[in-house]
């Protein structure tokens, strides 16, 4: 496949200018990128969370034109990944797409039909660069208002070099009845390296956005750093589902945050499989009375992996509610950590919050950590945090095996039961895939 455009390794202001020029961006976006680059260079590497000392930001290609991402041939995709595709029961054409070696043409027709239906309702669903050229006033109003570049080092990096990602705008009172799926947008890569996603739900609207899939995403690039901003205006409802299964050479450093206005509801459903190191803490700021947040996440850490994931909720107004459920599984010497923040400021009366973190350890070499922080400055609140760490119970295992189920199958069954709270929130086809993925992962670990 023809190589269209690629910047050199490393990052400097020339590269940022090249990226911006390649995309024909307005000057304000170029200036924004350059400011963000300066911030990226000033900020030190984070010293908490996952160990990032092996990550060298100068050894990475920061921009590859979409076509270039598909230049790998099917033969170069590792056998382990092919085997996973097979056990997940994914058809060949789709496998190639998922491995980054081809486009999924079959869905094009369906996508066009859906696109027309949404467009008739005034819904915008496109990639971020198209959004910027077609709807500049919307982007200029909301872009980087929730996550400014100085938020953290990797948000600054993303702001400087972003490409790809989705732009979704749902007009007042419109309910989108089926989930918007990132992989429908086949005109641009659905899972780039530095994607930037912005979702705006106008008052009284609702939308469910799904990105990723349970099959492993094979990328040669080792750093993935996305920024996702959600804006839930009064009375709206946004649900954002992510399932990611990165190949185990990837650093996945993602900033996700939502602003929830009066009586709106924001839900993050977040599944983290694979990757070398993940640092990801989806956040909801409950800005106005009656806003609600729900964050349900699962992290699976295998050999040489560290999943440092969690959730943050900040209650800024009275009668706000939040619910966090986090499940983590560590196996084959992997490490999973829950790191969370729950903050209730003074005046956020009658706020209610529940945090539940459960960890499952599958062998003696694995590790599980829980680091929640709870800060409350208001008297009339109800806050609870609970965490537990345990292993697959021998008695339960014995019971299942006494019914003629093999040990591997029994373990997979119990692990599936453990993550049920997460799986039941997923669209059906994803839930089926997750169950198969767990079964596949368990087979590997019993050996």
């Amino acid at each position: 496949m023809k190589l269209v455009f690629k910047t050199g390794k490393g990052i400097n202001s020339d590269i940022v200018r090249q990226i911006s020029a390649q995309k024909n961006e307005p000057d304000w976006m170029l200036q924004f990128r350059l400011r963000a680059l300066a911030i990226f260079e000033l900020k030190p590497m984070p010293e908490w969370g996952a160990d990032l000392s092996e990550l060298d930001p100068n050894d990475i290609y920061y921009y590859l034109k979409p076509l270039d991402e598909q230049h790998t041939s099917w033969d170069k995709v590792p056998d382990t990944i092919k085997a996973t595709f097979d056990s997940l029961g994914i058809p060949q054409a789709e496998q190639k797409f998922l491995a980054g070696v081809g486009a999924q043409y079959e869905s094009e027709v369906i996508y066009k039909r859906l696109k027309k239906k949404w467009a008739d309702q005034g819904v915008i669903f496109t990639d971020m660069s198209t959004g910027l050229s077609d709807y500049p006033e919307l982007i200029q109003k909301y872009f980087a208002t929730i996550i400014p570049p100085h938020d953290n080092k990797f948000a600054a990096l993303n702001s400087a070099v972003w490409s790809g990602g989705s732009f979704v705008y749902v007009p007042k009172g419109v309910h989108i009845d089926m989930p918007l799926q990132a992989y429908f947008r086949i005109n641009a890569p659905s899972m780039g390296q530095f994607e930037r996603t912005l979702i705006i739900a106008e008052p009284g609207s609702s939308v469910h956005y799904v990105e990723g899939c349970s099959a492993p995403i094979y990328r040669k690039n080792s750093l993935h750093s996305a920024v996702v901003e959600l804006i839930a205006l009064p009375g709206s409802h946004i649900r954002y589902t992510t399932i990611q299964n990165w190949s185990n050479n990837v650093y996945n450093l993602v900033t996700k945050r939502a602003m929830a206005y009066k009586n709106s509801k924001v839900e993050w459903i977040d599944g983290n499989f694979g990757s070398k190191k993940t640092m990801k803490y989806p956040c909801v700021i409950l800005k106005e009375p009656g806003a609600q947040a729900q964050i349900i996440s699962i992290a699976v850490a295998g050999k040489d992996q560290h999943q440092d994931a969690g959730a943050k909720v900040i209650h800024l107004a009275p009668r706000t509610k939040s619910n966090i459920v986090s499940k983590s599984i560590s196996k084959d010497g992997g490490r999973s950590s829950y790191r969370g923040l729950l903050k209730i400021i003074k005046g956020a009366k009658e706020s209610v919050s529940r945090v539940q973190c459960d960890a499952l350890l599958l062998d003696p070499h694995s590790r599980s950590d829980t680091y929640p922080t709870v800060q409350v400055s208001e008297q009339q609140v109800d806050v609870g945090h609970e965490a537990s760490v345990s292993k697959v119970s021998d008695e339960q295992l014995f019971y299942l095996m006494s019914r003629g189920i093999t040990e591997g199958a029994a373990r997979a069954l119990m692990v599936n039961g453990f993550i049920d709270a997460f799986v039941k929130e997923l669209p059906m086809e994803y839930a089926v895939e997750i169950n198969r993925l767990i079964a596949h992962e368990m087979e590997g670990s019993i050996g």
Binding site: R367, T373, V374, V376, A387, S388, V389, S390
Partner: protein, 200 residues
């Protein structure tokens, strides 16, 4: 039993198969440290009471020997501008060890409480049971509580849990007591006493 009434640094080793009760209740404000090591099958009951002043306490319990057990019960009652900072470490270095921590606080006035807790289960400490709970009652609207419990578990044969709760008195309980002809003020006092009774 050891009764400690001044805030300073203390170190104890509980010998194998011995047991000890340690009460830490400083009479004056100050910064203290309690470092307790437990040998095989040793057990220890620790009671903390922090009130009337500003207190800082670091409690470190190391379960070094098999079958060691530690039980910690603590209470802080703060008013005006008083602050309490407590950090606890439950370090399980041996198999079949148990620790159970419950620290409660009642915060009035514009008092502040900071609780940092850690349970660490080392890779040899299989069959460990560890529990850590911190519960705060905010009686005044100017009080502030922060609770940071954490867990680090390096092996799989364990049962670990932690929890923290921050809240106000249960409205239904208050209503019930008042419906029996008791003034609001007094009803609040009764429920606060009941909240504390679990740990003292």
């Amino acid at each position: 039993m050891k009764l400690l009434t001044t805030a300073q640094n203390y170190t104890y080793t509980i010998q194998a198969y011995q047991s000890q009760i340690i009460c830490y209740q400083p009479k004056k404000s100050g910064k203290g440290q309690l470092h307790i090591e437990l040998e095989e099958a040793a057990s220890c009951d620790i009671q903390l009471l922090l009130q009337d002043g500003n207190h800082e306490l670091e409690l470190r319990i190391i379960l070094k020997g098999k079958n060691a057990q530690a039980r910690i019960r603590g209470l802080y009652r703060l008013d005006n501008k008083e602050t309490v900072r407590i950090s606890t470490h439950q370090i399980h270095d041996a198999a079949h060890t148990q620790s159970d921590l419950l620290i409660k606080g009642v915060l009035d006035g514009s008092s502040h409480a900071h609780y940092h807790g850690k349970i660490y289960v080392g890779s040899d400490a299989h069959n460990t049971q560890a529990n850590q709970q911190n519960k705060n009652l905010l009686v005044s609207s100017h009080a502030h509580a922060e609770s940071v419990p954490s867990l680090e578990v390096l092996t799989d044969e364990v049962q670990c849990a932690h929890g923290s709760a921050i809240g106000y008195l249960d409205c239904e309980q208050l209503y019930y007591v008042q419906s029996r002809g008791i003034e609001l003020n007094q009803a609040e006092q009764m429920l606060i006493e009941a909240f504390c009774a679990e740990v003292v």
